[in-house]
C-alpha cells in the first residue's frame, strides 16, 4: 500500500467509527460532536484524494457551520432521562441497512482504482478539453473555479438561487419578523 492509501484507510476508519458513534450515542450533544468528527474525517480524506475545493467545503460546512446550527437548535430540546450512554439497537433496521450496504458493496469491484490513469474521468475528452482550454480561455488558474463560474456559470447561478430561496423559506418559517 502507498502512504496515501494507508492514511486514507486510517482516516476512513476513523470517519466510519465516528458515524457509528453519532448513530449510537443517546445524548444529542454527544451525537453532534461525533458527527462533527465524521465530517472532519471526510474532509481529510478529500485532501488525501487531492480534492482541496471539496475538502474546504466539507470542513467549513460539515464540520463548522452545521455543528453550530445543530448546537443552537438542541439548546431548545430536552435531554433524555436515564443514564444510558447508547441507544438501544433496532436489529430489524440493522438488517435492512446491512442488506443495502451489502448490495452497494458488490458494485465496488467495478469502480476504477483510486488515482488510476484508466479511470473514465481521466480519459474523458471533456476533462481533456477543460484542462487544455480553461486557462487560455478564462485566465483562471483553478480549473474547478473556471468550470463552476464560467463554463457551468448558469448552473452555479441556479445553486445561488437555491441557497437564497432555501434561506428565505427557512427564515420565513422561523418567523423572524424582519423577513415576513
Amino acid at each position: 500500500m502507498t502512504p496515501v492509501s494507508t492514511s486514507l484507510a486510517v482516516v476512513l476508519t476513523f470517519a466510519v467509527l465516528a458515524a457509528v458513534a453519532a448513530i449510537l450515542l443517546r445524548d444529542v450533544l454527544n451525537a453532534i460532536i461525533a458527527f462533527t468528527a465524521f465530517s472532519f474525517g471526510i474532509a481529510v480524506s478529500w485532501i488525501l484524494l487531492a480534492a482541496p475545493d471539496v475538502a474546504l467545503t466539507e470542513a467549513a460546512v460539515g464540520a463548522g457551520i452545521t455543528t453550530v446550527l445543530f448546537l443552537v437548535t438542541i439548546a431548545k430540546t430536552v435531554r433524555p432521562g436515564g443514564e444510558r450512554l447508547f441507544e438501544r439497537i433496532a436489529w430489524r433496521s440493522v438488517a435492512i441497512v446491512a442488506v443495502l450496504v451489502g448490495a452497494l458493496l458488490t458494485t465496488i469491484r467495478s469502480l476504477p482504482a483510486v488515482g488510476s490513469s484508466e479511470a473514465p474521468v481521466a480519459t474523458s475528452r471533456i476533462t481533456e478539453y477543460y484542462l487544455q482550454n480553461a486557462y487560455p480561455e478564462t485566465g483562471v488558474e483553478n480549473v474547478v473555479t473556471a468550470v463552476l463560474a464560467a463554463y457551468r456559470g448558469f448552473d452555479t447561478l441556479g445553486e445561488a438561487t437555491v441557497v437564497i430561496a432555501a434561506g428565505l423559506a427557512v427564515l420565513l418559517v422561523l418567523r423572524q419578523e424582519a423577513y415576513v
Binding site: T57, V72, V78, V163, Y179
Partner: protein
Amino acid sequence: MSQTDPNRTYVESTIIMTTVRVVVPFVFTFGVFVMFHGAESAGGGFQGGVIVASAVLLLAFAFGIEPTRAWLEGPLAQIAIASGGGTFALIGLGALVSGGAFLEYPAYGFGTDGVKYGIELVELGIGAVVSGVLVSLFFSLSQGDFQSVGSGGANSNSNGDGDAAGGERA
C-alpha cells in the same frame, strides 16, 4: 460547569473572549481571501462565504448572541443576500446586453482579464449570499422561545450555545 439558570446558556469567559478577539480578524480575512482567491487556488464563493459567516458566529459565541445581533443592527444580512444574488444575475444580464449569451463573459470585450474579473465578481456575489443566509439562519435559530420548553430539562451545557436573553419574539 456554571449552570445557575437553566434558561441562560451564555457563560461569559475571559479566555474565550480574548481568543475570539484575536482570531476573528484572521478568520474574516481568510474568508475574504478564499472568496477572492478561488480563481488561483482552492476555494471560492461558497467556502469563503461560510468562513466569513463563521467569524460572526465566533463573535456570537464569545460575546453572547443578543449583543452580537444588536451589534449587527440593521438589514446587513438581507442586503448581503440581495446584492450578492443581484450581482451574479446582473453580470449575466450585462453580457446579454453587450451582445453575447447570458453569462458569456467574453462578450464584455476585455479578453481573458474580463472573464477572470467577471468570475471574481460572481464569486464575491456567491460569498455574500452564503454568508448572509448563514448568519441570519443562525440568529433566527437561536432566537427560539426557551421559556416555553420548560425549565430544568433544557439541554443547556456549557458550550455557550444560545443566549436566552432575547426578549422580542414573533
